[in-house]
């Protein structure tokens, strides 16, 4: 009964969203006040209906109602409650429902918090948002209905891939989707602005918080996913340039460009049409990302052929949304006349530089990700584009971005001098170079790429610290007035510092862990040990373990410094787990995080003569990668709450 109500609610939501589209656009076109007032209300009703639908599916999962096909395929009675719930969005149909839920959630949020928007703009934005929602709901109801029943009901569910039964992965998709779909708001605002032919400071300051929120959540989602890959997959890696990862990375790159260019619109009323184009691009990539991950097209192009209905709908939907918005852009972009003039060497110029490189990186990632699909579809040949391709294109393009990241924020708007800017940063440059030289000499490492990465990370780190000190005129005025200046920093400025600091921390984590990690493949009897860099891992014993829905072998490794075996640092307990339903084996990594790095152990299988294979690592500063991600997210949120830009309208007029 509840399941049927959920289904009904979904159909009602589709009807309401179509009504919202018609009412909003007609109302805005005619300037009909009563219709305009209904647009936000209907958006909130959509949210309520989709929430009810989502709650119904969640209920079916929690009660293990195996008469529902989706639940029977993806759940199991013995699964812990939290994974029953996360199972709701862990499959194609459920994840679409979650998408629709977030789409309507954002529309409702715009309805409630968008008080500063004019009624007609708000209606148009909600109209576009509802158009996307309608597409999603229609797709779900016609081809991917999560509420389908089976008769007779299944006795037991199929279960969920045990790799996915993990707290970080339970919350990785929701965070990612909150980011993806947040870009839909920016998209809707951009299309509404195109219809009205007006992109100005006001528009930018209305869009900026949504763009920052979406970007921050996307950053968090990607970081969480990468952390999961690090501790769950057991390969010691944290990013594999897998198409699934790239699918989330591409909207992130577009979003990064977007939050920078929207600042230029807000402060200087330049780069208007470019910003709108980026917003369209960012959301289009979110859509493409969701669909290529969820449709199964990545594992095989033939997934489309197996299920042609879905494939055709997806391609049609993408064509309508992307093609339609680009057509609208082509027709209306000429109305967006830039106001603010600027020289190439200026704050604006540096942001254009940032955008140019980010979009270029995006292009190379896009090509590498989709190339195997094209080749398979056209030539029928199987190939994969691996990490070497992405590293060879990504790294050279990111070096200029990191270098310019320190220069841009200290340049003046309109016109600046490159030489003077570089000269101001002389101590930052010297400090970075000296530090790198010391590290190279002390560790006898002379790999150019490793040292360059380290140098750039330090350059950004010191650059940010110097900028803060410079902004408060530290040492040039009294401490008290320095402190006052510090307090005078806007939240936007703080956000920028914190986010850039996050980039520096992540870059340092990547460079150091990639260069100075130690790895040993060992084959040990109980009582034997192996050396990993400066550490000694000793296999103390093995023990069978019974979990809630698996059985496991647990190994005990006591870790100590080489030459000081009496001082035990920690005992690592990796496991090899065997799940019953579906029958699957996974390795459970054991990690001990220290300030200077992670001790990481993976237990393999029993080999011969009572030996067990194991992979043991020391990974210096690796947690900095995700810590930097948290800082970036925090920076975005800080900046989001900056209202000062709106108050000081017209500072340059």
């Amino acid at each position: 009964m509840i399941v049927e109500l959920g289904h009904l609610s979904l159909i009602l939501a589709l009807m309401v969203s179509v009504a919202t589209v018609l009412l909003s656009f007609e109302g805005a076109r005619r300037g009909h006040v009563a219709s305009l007032a209904w647009s936000p209300r209907l958006s909130i009703i959509q949210f309520v209906l989709v929430s009810a639908s989502f709650a119904a599916l969640t209920y079916a999962y929690v009660t293990s109602d195996f008469s529902v096909l989706n639940v029977a395929l993806h759940s199991h009675t013995e699964k812990p409650l939290i994974y029953k719930i996360s199972g709701v969005w862990g499959n194609h149909e459920g994840s679409l429902l979650f998408w629709a839920l977030v789409l309507t959630l954002y529309a409702a949020a715009v309805s409630v918090f968008g008080g500063k928007l004019t009624p007609s703009f708000k209606a148009r934005a909600l109209g576009f948002q509802s158009l996307v929602t309608s597409g999603f709901l229609l797709f779900m109801i016609t081809t991917s209905n999560p509420f389908l029943r089976i008769d007779p009901p299944a006795l037991q569910g199929n279960g969920l891939n045990p790799l996915l039964q993990d707290p970080a992965l339970a919350f990785h998709p929701p965070l990612l989707y909150l980011g993806y779909v947040g870009l839909a708001v920016v998209f809707s605002f951009s299309l509404a602005a195109l219809v009205e032919g007006r992109v100005d400071k006001r528009w930018a300051s209305n869009v900026r918080p949504w763009a920052l929120l979406a970007w921050g959540l996307l950053t968090g989602g990607i970081a969480l996913g990468s952390w999961w890959a690090y501790y769950e997959l057991g390969w010691g890696g944290w990013w594999f340039w897998d198409p699934v990862e790239n699918a989330s990375f591409m909207p992130w790159l577009a979003g990064t460009a977007l939050i920078h260019s929207v600042t230029v619109v807000e402060k200087r009323e330049a780069l208007k049409s470019w910003t709108v184009l980026l917003a369209i691009l960012a959301f289009s990539l979110s859509l493409i990302g969701t669909f290529i991950v969820r449709s199964g097209v990545l594992t095989s192009v033939h997934a489309f052929a197996v299920d042609p209905e879905r494939g055709v709908f997806i391609l049609g939907f993408l064509a309508v949304v992307i093609g339609g918005s680009l057509t609208l852009f082509a027709m209306r972009a000429n109305l967006l006349k830039p106001k603010g003039q600027f020289e190439i060497i200026s704050r604006e110029g540096s942001l254009v530089f940032n955008n140019l490189f980010l979009v270029t990186v995006l292009f190379t990632v896009f090509l590498g990700t989709l190339y195997p699909l094209f080749v398979d579809a056209i030539l029928g040949e199987k190939l994969s584009v691996g990490a070497p391709y992405f590293e060879a294109t990504f790294i050279p393009l990111f070096i200029p971005i990191l270098f310019a990241m320190v220069l841009g924020p200290i340049m003046a708007w309109k016109k600046a001098s490159l030489r003077a800017t570089l000269y101001r940063l002389k101590y930052v440059a010297i400090a970075s170079v000296v530090f790198v030289a010391l590290v190279a000499w002390m560790t006898s490492t002379y790999e150019v790429l490793a040292l360059l990465g380290l140098a750039l990370g330090l350059w950004v780190l010191f650059g940010v610290l110097w900028s803060v000190a410079d902004g408060m005129s530290l040492g040039r005025v009294s401490l008290a007035s320095s402190y006052n200046r510090l307090r005078g920093f806007t939240l936007g400025r703080w956000g920028m510092f914190v986010a850039h600091l996050g980039i520096a921390i992540t870059v340092l984590g990547i460079a150091v862990s990639a260069t100075w990690s130690d790895e040993t493949l060992a084959n040990l009897r109980v009582g034997e040990g192996a050396d990993v860099g400066a550490y000694h891992f000793r296999l103390d014993g093995l023990q069978p373990v019974a979990g809630p829905n698996y059985s496991a072998v647990r190994a005990f490794f006591s870790v100590s410094k080489i030459g000081d075996t009496s001082q035990e640092i920690t005992v690592l307990m990796p496991e090899e787990r065997t799940f019953w339903s579906p029958p699957t084996q996974t390795t459970e990594v054991a990690i001990y995080s220290m300030l200077k790095g992670d001790l990481y152990a993976v237990i393999g299988n029993e080999t011969q003569g009572g030996r067990w294979s194991a992979r043991l690592y020391f990974k210096p500063l690796i947690t900095w990668i995700w810590f930097g991600g948290i800082l970036m997210m925090l920076g975005a949120l800080l900046s989001m709450f900056d209202r000062s830009a709106r108050r000081s309208d017209g500072e340059d007029k």
């Binding site: 270029t360 294979s613 992979r615």
Partner: protein
């Protein structure tokens, strides 16, 4: 004095030039990166027929041949044959075996051939669960199955 409109045009031109230069640099970068970034899926039959250069990286797909698994270094090194039912290629892998590595099951190994024609794998991917067969392996097996028919048609 340059007028704002003229200046804007100049700037746009400069920007287009910068973008074009960047684009050509990137194109060159990508061409180079593609050379060692792309790995092909190859079947044992394709190796038997066309050969493969020593040291060239590719992915070998097929089934773990029944009765072919043996080991060295107290089990740390695994030797096995990958077969597509027509031909088979010996593989050497020194690492932890993936979960669910079994004789007669689908497998993908990544690495390169050595001078003795042994495929030195540094990555072995087996399936995650009992029901799943990697699509690439499926493809290779299908090709092998249709092999004789294709031969006949060509003659």
């Amino acid at each position: 004095m340059t007028t704002p409109a003229k200046k804007r045009k100049q700037q746009r031109l400069l920007l287009i030039i910068i973008a074009l230069v960047l684009l050509s640099v990137v194109a060159a970068l990508m061409m180079r990166a593609m050379e060692d970034g792309i790995t092909f899926f190859i079947s044992p039959t394709e190796i038997a027929e066309n050969g493969k250069a020593v040291g060239e990286r590719f992915r070998l797909g097929g089934l773990v041949e029944e009765g072919s698994v043996s080991s060295e270094e107290n089990g740390l090194v695994i030797l096995f044959n990958v077969t597509d039912t027509l031909n088979s290629t010996p593989v050497r892998y020194r690492d932890i075996l993936p979960d669910l590595f079994r004789e007669g099951q689908g497998v993908i190994a990544e690495g390169s051939l050595n001078a003795d024609g042994v495929f030195i794998a540094d990555k072995v991917l087996a399936k995650h669960d009992e029901n799943y067969m990697p699509p690439e392996v499926m493809d290779i097996l299908e090709r092998a199955e249709n092999y004789d028919e294709n031969k006949d048609e060509n003659n």
